[in-house]
Symmetry: C2
Subunit: 451 residues, 2 copies
């Protein structure tokens, strides 16, 4: 049995959904289908999730919502029309869209979460209707029905592993395909709460593990995961297979094809993942598998980079002689609900690296003023933009010299690094770099290693 997940671009319109239908019909093992909300149909289009968030905002601001409601309805209706689904089949979807604004929510966060979750929630209902209409028995499965529980973090929820038991009880013996909306679960109080953006991958992984699937297929719009971002290097090498940990490290630093948190259920359940292309379903795609299944041929599997970081630099003499120095800094971070990514230190120097997409300017200002007042460093410097490059490969385990192949081409091009962190992870080397140098550094490293 396979759990098969489709991303937003695979579900953007009727034409794309037709491909999805064909893919599902071609393989009876594709029993459980996890779907995202309809994505962009063209470059400047808006995703349905973004439309729903505008609708949420307008509702909160008590603005006129007629137009945005019509736009959202139209997206679903146009998909239905493609398949000549009778209009009355969509009446309950329309009602749900309108009802969203009239419900009571525990907080603004839960309101936003519920609006956003409806992109998937409505789409799964619609897709079940369309599949039945086209003659393939299908049933919409509400995450509530299978007890997909999450914690109380409304818009970046964490999955409650107790749910694997109830998910595992889902009846797969019927002939119906089961259509499950991705991206959200329910809190113990019954509120919808979403994973972080892109979280449909997580739902797919949870379903695959809970149901002990043989394979978790993840359909997207690329035929493989490439060893480097194709916008940096033309026609880069495709990765045929890689390990779970390699995927995690690469997605951390910008490989957005697969959500990094979605790997965990797969690892824990030993579920193989296959990234495939809805528009080229016969291509083998990329397999993400346990380390025992991979025969490595090259030291480096992929090179990722992301400029979403920021850094704080601190200098203070005898910094590391004080028990509790870093502890006091971390207490300040916790006070402002800030988590950090990495903390390389010298004898008298400490750099703290943050994911700036997780920070507001207010948090940064408060943190900086508290550190200045309570820690009294000799130097305190905020670096608002910081790039990270991850060079990843199981082949680097116990292999001498990978670092030389990484830094030598940078020296040649006179590109300087702000940080080198090797050894914390056995399968990757992390580099810190000025954001504007990041792409050319990646290109230099890729060219040296892969060509």
């Amino acid at each position: 049995m396979k759990v098969t997940k489709f991303g937003g671009s695979s579900l953007a319109n009727g034409q794309q959904l037709q491909r999805v239908y064909d893919i599902i019909r071609a393989d009876d093992d594709r029993k459980v289908v996890v779907v995202s909300a309809p994505g962009k149909r063209f470059k400047d289009d808006r995703k349905v999730t973004d439309l729903l968030l505008s609708y949420a905002q307008a509702t909160l601001a008590d603005e006129d919502t007629t137009e945005i409601i019509e736009t959202i309805k139209h997206r679903y209706h146009s998909i239905g029309e493609f398949f000549e689904l009778p209009d009355y089949e969509l009446a309950d979807l329309d009602e749900q869209i309108e009802h969203l604004a009239r419900k009571h929510y525990r907080s603004f966060d839960y309101l936003y979460a519920a609006f956003a979750a409806h992109g998937e929630y409505l789409n799964a209902q619609l897709i079940a209707k369309i599949f039945n209409h086209l003659g393939m028995p299908a049933r919409f499965v509400d995450p509530k029905e299978i007890g997909l529980l999450v914690n109380d973090n409304a818009r970046s929820a964490t999955f409650d592993t107790a749910s694997y038991t109830t998910i595992g009880e889902l009846d797969l013996s019927t002939s119906e395909r089961l259509i499950v909306p991705g991206f959200f679960g329910y809190t113990r109080s019954g509120d919808m709460a979403t994973f972080s953006r892109g979280g449909s991958d997580i739902t797919g992984a949870i379903m695959a593990r809970g149901l002990r699937a043989d394979l978790y297929e993840n359909f997207t719009d690329v035929s493989a995961i490439y060893a480097v971002n194709p916008s940096i290097v033309e026609h880069p090498a495709a990765i045929q297979q890689m390990t779970y940990d390699e995927m995690r490290e690469l997605s951390y630093a910008g490989f957005a094809v697969f959500h990094d948190e979605a790997i965990i259920p797969a690892i824990q359940g030993g579920i193989r993942i296959n990234i495939k292309n809805t528009n080229d379903p016969d291509a083998p795609g990329t397999f993400i598998v346990p380390p025992t299944e991979v025969q490595q041929t090259r030291p480096v599997t992929g090179i990722a980079n992301s400029n979403r970081f920021a850094a704080l630099y601190l200098h203070r003499y005898l910094l590391n002689k004080q028990v509790g120095f870093t502890l006091r800094i971390l207490e300040i971070l916790k006070r402002h609900n800030i988590s950090y990514e990495h903390m390389p230190s010298g004898i008298d120097d400490l750099t703290i690296i943050f994911d700036k997409t997780m920070l507001t300017q207010e948090q940064v200002d408060n943190m900086l003023s508290d550190i200045a007042a309570e820690i009294k460093p000799d130097t305190l410097k905020w670096i608002p933009s910081y790039g990270i490059i991850m060079v990843v490969g199981e082949g680097m385990r116990n292999r001498v010299g990978a670092l030389t192949e990484i830094v030598a081409p940078l020296k040649e091009r006179n590109i300087s690094l702000q940080m080198v962190n090797q050894g914390a992870s056995e399968i990757s080397i992390m580099l810190g770099i000025q954001p504007d140098l990041s792409d050319s550094a990646v290109e230099a490293i890729y060219t040296n290693i892969f060509k």
Copy 2:
């Protein structure tokens, strides 16, 4: 005015002290003399400080102390005899040695601190007597007299900077040389408390800053600080001058010539330091100076290594998504009064590096069991011996490619690194390595860079 400090090997016997006398007499600017306890006279000799610690132990165990007392007395007497100092001059020293065992102490730690401090305390008194006997007016200055205050950490005390004021009031207008014992100060309650071992360097630096000395001379048994440990590389390059920060980084990783904490008062007071050789006083030695005074000629000033570290490796998925994860680990460390050195992290991995000379096995066991119970990592590994190499040079600031010159020779010799930490400090690159590979790695790096 110069503050001139002599280490234990320069004061081990009468012959050595004669050299010290000649050095002091040769320069009227050598007004303040800071002395250590008599050190080893030959390879398997015992330092007086170690004899005093045995005496402390025997006292606590209520064992017979006659022999150890005689051994200690003999060390001082044999120095006095060399200068034909009349025996009655040493009567009050003998009395002080005996009296040590009869005094009351606040705690075992204060007992050990007082016994250890007497190595310097008695030696400074003896040296003042001998200098006077030889015709050079000299006066013993008790740190109590100049208000050299320290905090309540009996055996690894921190200096109270308020003391600079009282030290600055010391009368330097007399013709006497002032003989100050190194290594210890007094708490506010009047107890002797020592700096960490080698702490006479700290006393010298404090005196130099408090008295605004023109130069802090630090006499030891080498004619210069070398760019690499002479036991690893034969006839290494001598360092003629380096900056304060370079010295700090090098002494952190094993350059024991100068105590790393002793740099701080010098930096703060802008005091130049000159490391010189008692046995070759005309050699220029090594100057440690502010960065503005150094003309750099090579990217790397020195390479140090030390195997005094240990490491803890932790693996846990989504480790860095949790606000407060590291905070909880640091709280466990603080609970057991453990400070850490460095904490390189990957996405799901965290390595914590410790100075194992600061740890007891009991602390380690307690920390490991608390981390296992409270943090529940997927993997928890204790690495009892871990080497660190520091490649240090102001010339590395903004210089591209230093890392290549460091890792390339290691690749050639097939030496693998466990950690590379570049960027936390602007003037050094820190490498983690298996202790048994450390020396050959240093040799390879030195050869590549210096030859």
